[in-house]
C-alpha cells in the first residue's frame, strides 16, 4: 500500500495503468472551494504529480479514465472560457493534452461518461447522459480516433 496524499478535502476519482504498468490516479483537491483542482499522479519510482487543466474548475462527477496503446484518455467537466464536458488525450507520460469538446452545457447534467477502447479499430467510444435535474436524461454516444495528431 502506497499512500498518495494525506489530508482533508481530496476525492479520488479513477485509476488507469499508463503504458500498462504505471498506476495513474486521478483526484481532486477541494481545499479551495472556489477553485477545484484536478490532478493526475503517476507512480514511477515515486509519485509524479501533474495538473492537466490549469486555471479551470472541474467537477468530479464527470471524470473517467481509459488507457490503451499508451494513450491516456480522460473526460472532465471544464468551467473555463469554454465550459462543458471535454475529452483530454495524450500519448505517453509527459506533454500537452489534446482537448475535444463534448458538450457546451454550463449545468453539469451531462455527467458520468463511460469510455471503452477498441484498439483493433483504433477507436475510443464514449457514452454520456444529457438532460436536466428533473426529467429523464438521454443517452448520448460518440467516438474518436485513438490516433492522436498533436500537429493539428
Amino acid at each position: 500500500m502506497t499512500p498518495l496524499k494525506t489530508g482533508e478535502f481530496f476525492f479520488v476519482q479513477d485509476i488507469a495503468l499508463l503504458e500498462r504498468i504505471h498506476p495513474t490516479v486521478q483526484f481532486f483537491d477541494y481545499n479551495d472551494k472556489l477553485k477545484t483542482r484536478m490532478w493526475i499522479a503517476t507512480y514511477i519510482n515515486g509519485w509524479q504529480f501533474q495538473e492537466p487543466l490549469p486555471d479551470t474548475h472541474v467537477g468530479s462527477d464527470s471524470v473517467r479514465f481509459s488507457n490503451d496503446q499508451g494513450i491516456l484518455s480522460m473526460t472532465c467537466y471544464a468551467s473555463d472560457e469554454r465550459p462543458g464536458l471535454v475529452l483530454l488525450q495524450r500519448k505517453g507520460l509527459q506533454g500537452p493534452f489534446l482537448r475535444r469538446q463534448i458538450t457546451d452545457y454550463t449545468f453539469p447534467y451531462q455527467m458520468h461518461p463511460v469510455l471503452v477502447s477498441e484498439p483493433k479499430n483504433g477507436l475510443l467510444h464514449l457514452f454520456w447522459s444529457e438532460g436536466d435535474a428533473v426529467n429523464p436524461a438521454n443517452l448520448m454516444y460518440g467516438k474518436v480516433s485513438l490516433e492522436l495528431d498533436h500537429t493539428k
Binding site: M1, T2, P3, L4, T6, E8, F9, F10, F11, V12, D14, I15, L17, R20, P23, V25, Q26, F27, F28, Y30, Y43, G46, W47, F49, E51, P52, S62, R64, L87, L88, Q89, P96, L98, R99, R100, Q101, T103, M111, H112, V114, L115, V116, N121, L123, H125, F127, W128, S129, E130, G131, A133, N135, P136, A137, L139, M140, Y141, G142, K143, H150
Partner: protein
C-alpha cells in the same frame, strides 16, 4: 447452485506504506484544442437524470464493432436495461429489461462484462443489499437471460472483471456485521458464474470508524499467471453514534486519506 463455496485468496495485500508528498512542484499543462465530438442520441434510451451513466460503472463492452451498454432507467423503480449496437446493420436495438433493485435509489446502476465465449454477465441492483447477477443464455445475445442470483449478501459499487483464465472477479464494498463494517474486497467465480466464492476482504475497517470510497480498480494482467489489482481509494470518517458518513458530498466534510494500493 452453490453460492457459498470458498475460494483461494489470489490477492494478498502487501502493506508497505511509503509517504510521498511531491506536490505543486510541476508546471500546469496546456491542452491543445482538437475540435468537437459529435454526439448522437441513442433512440428510446432514457434514464435517471443524474445516474443514467455512472462514474463507477463498467457499463460498456465493445466486440468486433458491436457495442453493448447497460444503464439505469428512470425513477421510480430505477431498473437496469441493456441495449446493443449491431454494427452489421448500423442500428441500436430496443432496450431489454434486466432487473430491478430496491426502488428509488440511484446506486443500483448495472455493470457489464463479456467472457471469452461471448456470454454477457451483468451485476446490478445493490446498495448495502444483495448483489444481483444474471448471465445471457446465448453468446452475444441480449434477449434471454438466466434467472436472477444473489452473489454477495450486502454489496455496494460493484466492479466486475474477467481474467484470461476465465475467472470473474467482482470488486465491491461489503456492509456486513452489526454495526456494519464498510470493508472492500471481491467475490469470485471460477466456473463462468455458476457458483461464487465468499467475500474476500482487501481493505478492512478494523475500528468501525472508517468507510472506504474506491475511485477505481484496474488489473495488471501482464503476468497472466499472477494478475495484480491496483485500487485507488480514500477513507472517510463515519459518525459512530448516528452512522452518518461525513462527506457524502465531496464539496463538504470529507476527511480523507488518499491511497493507492500496489501489490
Amino acid at each position: 447452485m452453490n453460492r457459498n463455496c470458498c475460494a483461494d485468496r489470489p490477492y494478498s495485500v502487501g502493506m508497505i506504506p511509503i509517504l510521498l508528498v511531491m506536490f505543486s512542484l510541476c508546471e500546469p499543462i496546456r491542452a491543445a484544442d482538437a475540435g468537437e465530438i459529435a454526439g448522437e442520441w441513442i433512440a428510446n434510451v432514457t434514464g435517471h437524470p443524474t445516474f443514467l451513466t455512472h462514474s463507477y460503472s463498467h457499463a460498456a463492452v465493445v466486440d468486433n464493432g458491436d457495442l453493448y451498454f447497460v444503464y439505469m432507467g428512470a425513477m421510480p423503480d430505477t431498473a437496469s436495461f441493456i441495449v446493443k449496437y449491431v454494427n452489421s446493420i448500423k442500428q441500436w436495438t430496443t432496450p431489454v429489461l434486466l432487473g430491478k433493485g430496491p426502488q428509488g435509489d440511484p446506486h443500483h446502476y448495472p455493470n457489464l462484462v463479456m467472457d471469452a465465449s461471448g456470454y454477457l454477465h451483468v451485476f446490478y441492483g445493490c446498495h448495502a443489499t444483495p448483489l444481483l447477477y444474471k448471465r445471457s443464455k446465448s453468446p452475444r445475445d441480449i434477449k434471454d437471460w438466466s434467472p436472477e442470483y444473489r452473489i454477495s449478501p450486502r454489496a455496494t459499487y460493484p466492479r466486475p472483471f474477467i481474467l484470461s483464465d476465465g475467472r470473474i472477479l467482482v470488486f465491491h464494498r461489503s456492509n456486513t456485521g452489526n454495526p456494519p463494517q464498510m470493508s472492500y474486497g471481491y467475490v469470485e467465480s471460477k466456473n463462468g458464474g455458476e457458483t461464487w466464492s465468499e467475500f474476500h476482504e482487501l481493505i478492512a475497517d478494523p475500528d468501525k470508524r472508517w468507510i472506504a470510497y474506491v475511485g477505481g480498480v484496474v488489473l495488471d494482467v501482464s503476468n497472466r499467471e499472477q494478475p495484480v489489482a491496483h485500487i485507488a481509494w480514500m477513507l472517510s470518517t463515519q459518525n459512530l453514534i448516528s452512522g452518518e458518513i461525513n462527506g457524502a458530498n465531496p464539496m463538504g466534510q470529507y476527511t480523507t486519506v488518499l491511497f493507492c494500493m500496489i501489490r
